[in-house]
Amino acid sequence: MTTLLVAQIVLTLFVFIALLHSAAAMVWVERRLAALLQQRLGPIRVGWQGLLQPFADVIKLMFKEELRPGAADPILFALAPIISATAAFSAFAVVPFGAETTFFGLLDEPMRLQVADVNVAVLVIFAIASMSVYGIVLAGWSSNSKYSLLGGLRSSAQMISYELSYGLALASVLLLGNSLSLTTLVDAQSGTWLGFIPRWFIFIQPLGFLIFMTAGVAETNRAPFDFPEAEQELVAGYHTEYSSMSFAMFFLAEYINMVTVSAVATDLFLGGWHGPFLPESLGWIWFLLKVGALLFFYVWMRWTLPRYRYDQLMAFGWKILLPLSVINLLVTAAGVLYFGA
């Protein structure tokens, strides 16, 4: 019992620190990839291949002066980045990233590589994603600046619009796996069809996966849907007035949200830690590879596609994505009824 508790605490700390470092790594990956896509070199001076650049950035941000506009609301201005970062971190708590393990016999009973095994995990992620909008909206409002306010308003409208498609794409996977627990959903994707096609939900739900990823990109405010911080129109959007570490917290939240969306997509559509060649105990390697591939896609897309126009974003969300996800859900439900899951 005690060892299990200690293991749980260690695992929680590990996930927290790993998320922090994944954000740092993503900053480096983003800058290097952007540079390579634009025929530049990018950061290569600090450390080998510039790998220490994110840490140099963090140190720089720590020593910067914390500014607050005189007309800003002091409480909410301080609270907004905290809400953003907290929501980003807590969403990952229910994401499983590996099969049950005893850590090479270190523990008496096997334990799940997951901080909290909630039986409504999918809904918890959805709930926390819907809470993260408050950080951005409040940042926009409390700054008392027109650019920030417009960024915050855009963000809330965008997130409300895309949350529906996001939720409906989730629902069609829930129908297939007949569960709300992410662990059960991942286990439903083990094994293969015809001996070589992995039983991943992406092969039954290709449209669902596309809808989920599109809505996920919109939810994390990434290009080509990065309207809340559209530089050419809004300076920097909701975080225009933020500096130093409170700016860093928004930055952190954005990258961690990307990691979480990719991890959830991996669990729901790409079979989680299941994959060929590796034994079950090393499944987390597969998990990391899949999440990495999705994150690469995120960055690749940002530096390839131009930003949409705002009315195009709204029209796309309500007139194309939402009807598509409703049809996808209906077809999935009919299929599950007909074939019996």
Partner: protein
């Protein structure tokens, strides 16, 4: 442990709800209401109903309150009413205030009656465990199907009404 959590969440819910009406700034009111919903959701978890708890967050804190905040921010009213508005408000007259006092007394009496009822008078809901999502779904679509469908029509009517009211007459 459970008792401490219950009193903690209960205190947060009541305290935040009281502060909602005590705030001058509507944005703070909205945020305190969200805090109150969060505490309620914690109480649902203690009642072994995680599904209801998460739905509470998604629907109320996540969706409805975002719209509230949206409206409050668009109006951008730093204070709800000016001094003049408060004095001239129609509810400030002696007649409406007496009527309000009667209503408040009625509510207090009802609350007192509900609290003193013996537990035997109130039957637990249905008898199916509320924690299971499939049980909730089955009950909702069999036993309470009529109420469920009527509610959806009610919401549709409200939506159509809002669209009709908000639409501007186009000049011919």
């Amino acid at each position: 442990m459970t008792d401490t959590a219950f009193y903690l969440f209960g205190a947060i819910a009541i305290g935040a709800s009281l502060l909602v009406i005590a705030q001058r700034n509507p944005v703070y009111s909205v945020l305190l209401l969200i805090a109150s919903f969060g505490a309620l959701s914690g109480l649902y978890v203690l009642l072994d109903a995680p599904f209801v708890a998460v739905i509470q967050i998604i629907v109320y804190a996540g969706a409805i309150m975002v719209l509230f905040l949206f409206v409050v921010m668009l109006l951008n009213a730093p204070q709800e009413d000016t001094e003049h508005d408060v004095r001239m408000h129609p509810f400030r007259g002696p007649g409406p205030m007496r009527f309000g006092a009667v209503l408040a007394l009625g509510l207090a009496a009802e609350l007192g009656w509900a609290l003193t009822r013996t537990p035997g008078d109130s039957a637990p809901f249905g008898g199916t465990p509320v924690s299971s999502v499939s049980a909730i779904g089955r009950t909702l679509f069999t036993e309470y199907a009529f109420a469920f469908e009527v509610t959806s029509i009610l919401i549709l009517v409200a939506m159509v009404g809002a669209v009709v009211l908000a639409r501007r007459e186009e000049p011919r």
